[in-house]
Amino acid sequence: MDNSKKTILSARGIGKTVKSGSSDLVILREIDLSVTAGDAVAVVGASGSGKSTLLAILAGLDTPSIGSVEVDGADLFGLDEDQRAELRGKSVGFVFQSFQLLPSLSALENVMLPLELAGRADAEAMSREILARVGLGERLSHYPKHLSGGEQQRVALARAFSVRPKLLFADEPTGSLDAAAGSGVIDLIFELNRSYGTTLVMVTHDENLAQRCGRIVRLVAGQIAGK
């Protein structure tokens, strides 16, 4: 695939500093990172090392104090907040440690949500299909509170993949799951990664998950330790 040679995500000189009281707290400093399309990157590091903050900046959810990020050729922070939202809607998917399913929507409707936001007329058919792929074809009308953690995370995966994003950001996708459910989710992520050619950027503490990624970025006190 010609896709695989392209750099889909690149960060240059990312720094993040927040004011805490009188002193400045440096969370990230001088992060340079570029990710090739189709790759799977694991971001690992100790708690508090700035993994989630980095992920949020790479995804355009948070803004860096310094530096720039390019996603799919677009300068993220040259765009305004709404333009970033549109870019996310088009080419980015998310999975979170706490699933973040909307409690008032059924499994099917949760998966349909990004498609509806994108104005897709075939939202329901696509959602049914992908829910069947993650093994929840029978649970379409169930609400998140009636699903187990593993099942919820699979719904979240279906939601993230429903728009066929180029990039998937995941913050500790297995962090709330036991080993068995976690490995099921991991299998699913890589399966979807293969079939859709999605680029993965995952923050994780899970060694098992990190080992399956082609590349591991280790953060130590806000800096990339070894490449």
């Binding site: 959810l61 996310r88 998310f94 979170f96 973040q100 409690p103 008032s104 949500l113 936001l117 994108a118």
Partner: protein, 551 residues
């Protein structure tokens, strides 16, 4: 909109909106039911009040009417009747008594009915027309004084009349007959033959008009420009100020009730929205992650609330409509009157007030929803709920002040119309008193606000009584005209009891010195005398009245 509807259905199904919808429905239902009822009572009061006037508009003159006026009333497509009043000796055999004669055309009164009985103490009934020529109707007192029962004859001036009935009720008089001459009704066509009315006699000539309100207003404007010396125009307000005051009171009370419901509902809506916003913060952050722009979220949730508002207000209006029938049923017995049919204006009022309440209390916190940062999905504490709680309180405050300002505008509008004048409220004493006064002022304003909610659509002229109360209790100049009139309110049958609530009946007593403490809220007026027959001998010279006429 389609997605808003989808969202609405999903949130409804999940039970997110029930408290909110309930609050809205209850608010709209209570506002509309009270508005419906107040509207019907208000119209009944006005209708009955016009019965007390005998017409919609009355023209009074101390000399014979120039011929063009009666013609003009007829030309304008209004019904007209006429009457002449004077005092005359009624003679039956040996006995003679001074009677207050009222000579009326056959179709008098145009509003309401006289009531007559075939004999003293016999059951009475409404009279369908005035006395036929050659006959008179007299009050029971006259029967006693003259020893002249129904069927016997009495003499008035040069003519002799058959007593055809006992007069039991004359709504226009509205006052009891202790110190005034007893009433005698005759046909106006018989007046000339009696020879009692000559140049220089103290006679009052009345022209009555009734018909469509806008035609009456036009006639009033027309007639006011043409009144000669000794002539004047009387409408409900000038003719029966006490009735106007009672109507105001009744509507204010009902309005206050609805206001209370609205405020409680506003609080419920604010709390319900707050809950809704808190429960949707995460969802909104997720939607922003998945590409929803801020405007998109605003439209989505704004649309959802507008739809909810429309549905809730519609349901509330229907419930209010049904409920007012029960209210009317329960209170109907107390009112002793048929209420006019329901008009649809209050439905519109309730509906709009409901929407204003919902959007005023709910939209500002919803705006908070669109501002939730997407990063909240990763760092929960961003866009924490404390911010939105503050927003809700701020929003509640803003919408409340909005309503107050709105109301203030409405009132200012009235002020410009010269209908109300608020006396300065003196704030004095320590801060506690100041605070109490502030609260009072606040409540007072809300009271008025409610009135202005109902006054969104101009319906009735503003009250005369409020003017008096607000001007610090100064009696109106015309109140001092004439000797103390007699005002034991006689409530005509078929009229609303509410026309004479206790608070209003009190100042009716003319025996009290008419000068309450300044700032007192007692309604103050003295009914004005329109009827020389109602005055004892040696009353003021003619012309006294004219000097004080028409400020």
């Amino acid at each position: 909109m389609k997605q808003s509807l989808q969202m609405l259905l999903r949130d409804w199904r999940a039970g997110e909106l029930r408290v909110l919808a309930m609050a809205l429905v209850v608010a709209v239902a209570s506002i509309t039911s009270v508005a419906f009822f107040a509207d019907r009572v208000g119209r009944a009061l006005v209708r009955d009040a016009h019965q007390l006037l005998g017409a919609d508009l009355v023209l009074v003159s101390d000399h014979a009417w120039q011929p063009g006026i009666a013609q003009e009333i007829a030309n304008r497509g209004l019904n007209s009747a006429r009457a002449t009043t004077f005092i005359s000796m009624a003679i039956a055999g040996e006995n003679s008594v001074l009677a207050g004669v009222k000579a009326v055309s056959g179709n008098y009164p145009l509003r309401g009915r006289l009531r007559i009985a075939p004999a003293v103490n016999a059951p009475d009934g409404p009279a369908l027309a005035g006395p036929r020529p050659g006959t008179v109707w007299i009050e029971e007192r006259l029967v006693t004084a003259l020893s002249a029962p129904v069927g016997s004859r009495i003499k008035l001036g040069a003519s002799s009349f058959e007593i055809a009935a006992i007069l039991t009720l004359e709504p226009e008089r509205g006052a009891n007959f202790f110190n005034i001459a007893p009433r005698l009704f005759m046909n106006v066509d018989d007046v000339a033959a009696t020879g009692l009315v000559q140049t220089g006699s103290r006679v009052w000539h009345y022209l009555y008009a009734a018909g469509a309100p806008e035609k009456i207003v036009a006639l009033e404007a027309w007639a006011k420009g043409r009144m000669a010396r000794g002539q004047r125009v009387e409408n409900l307000e000038s003719g029966r100020p006490e009735v106007r005051g009672a109507i105001e009171r009744a509507q204010r009370f009902l309005g206050l009730t609805a206001l209370l419901a609205a405020i409680l509902a506003g609080v419920a809506i604010a709390l319900g929205t707050r809950r809704f916003v808190e429960r949707h913060l995460d969802g909104c952050a997720v939607m922003r992650c998945f590409g929803a722009t801020q405007n998109r979220l605003l439209l989505l949730f704004g649309g959802e609330f507008v739809l909810l508002g429309l549905a809730g207000c519609a349901l509330g209006t229907v419930i209010g409509f049904v409920a007012q029938f029960f209210i009317a049923e329960i209170l109907g017995g107390l009112l002793r009157a048929d209420l006019p049919a329901v008009s649809m204006l209050p439905a519109l009022q309730g509906f709009l007030v409901g929407l204003v309440l919902l959007l005023g209390f709910a939209l500002p916190p919803l705006v908070q929803l669109k501002n939730v940062p997407a990063v909240r999905v990763i760092r929960r504490e961003s866009g924490a709920t404390s911010g939105s709680a503050f927003a809700v309180y701020a929003a509640g405050l803003v919408s409340l002040s909005g309503l107050l300002i709105w109301h203030g505008r409405c009132r200012a509008g009235r002020d410009r119309g010269g209908r109300f004048r608020r006396g300065g409220r003196v704030v004095r004493g320590d801060s506690l008193v100041g605070f109490a006064l502030f609260l009072r002022e606040f409540l007072f304003k809300k009271d008025r606000k409610e009135k202005s909610l109902f006054a969104l659509w101009p319906r009735q002229p503003a009250p005369a009584c409020a003017r008096q109360r607000d001007s610090g209790g100064e009696p109106r100049s015309r109140a001092h005209r004439g000797p103390a009139p007699d005002v034991h309110a006689q409530r005509p049958r078929g009229c609303l009891a509410a026309q004479f609530p206790a608070g209003c009946a009190q100042p009716l007593s003319a025996r009290r010195p008419a000068r309450p403490a300044r700032g007192s809220e007692v309604l103050l007026y003295q009914p004005r005398h329109r009827d020389p027959g109602a005055q004892p001998h040696g009353a003021r010279p003619p012309g006294f009245r004219e000097q004080q006429e028409d400020r």
